[in-house]
Symmetry: C3
Subunit: 87 residues, 3 copies
């Protein structure tokens, strides 16, 4: 049952909580590029691949496990993963 004390505690928690709440409002989309030799480039932990770039003009790629860029042309010298997260 709700008592005056438990209600007061909830209110106190709520008032302290108020200061934390606005933080998500300021979140932005933060992206970076990772370049690697060969056909695979991995995003840093916590980031997701939104697109990939490949050497030798190749525009055929897929994304493995949502965070690894894989260039698909027969000859590839480098791969770039474009990686994003909320920050």
């Amino acid at each position: 049952e709700e008592t005056i004390d438990s209600f007061a505690k909830k209110l106190k928690d709520l008032l302290s909580y108020q200061n934390d709440c606005p933080s998500p409002v300021t979140k932005t989309l933060s992206c970076t590029s990772v370049k690697a030799m060969g056909t695979l480039a991995s995003c840093p932990t916590g980031m997701t691949a939104t697109g990939c770039s490949c050497g030798f003009a190749c525009g055929s790629w897929n994304v493995q496990n949502e965070n690894v860029c894989h260039c698909l042309c027969p000859v590839i010298d480098w791969t770039v993963a474009r990686c994003c997260k909320l920050a």
Copy 2:
């Protein structure tokens, strides 16, 4: 006019609301790939295309209606849309 009852109701709503509020803090960028035969690949409802991949090494594409990848080379066998949303 504010009565004790209406004030108490607001407080009660607020206290139950507190549990819902933190959810945006934990939002992340969630992406997936959609592959289709031909020159067009559509993102699922609610997702936006952040990049496209095309068969035959083609790197020329545009995005239609913010959620459909369109590969532009004369010969294309498949198209992949890279699709993201907040979740």
Copy 3:
């Protein structure tokens, strides 16, 4: 020290604050494309490049300063930047 008046003011602020708080919940990923002649295409202020598309079937590109797409093939007629932000 906490007085009844200061506590009441905090509560009043909190109740008015409640209406602002849900806004982040409704944030979505908003993207647009920018096409330019030549090898460079810049995203609008406040947006980040998540991928790039290049003329002449070229799939080799990098991102400069997180918001400019740069197509890398020797001959390029146009460049498209795919640009996203939270909105």
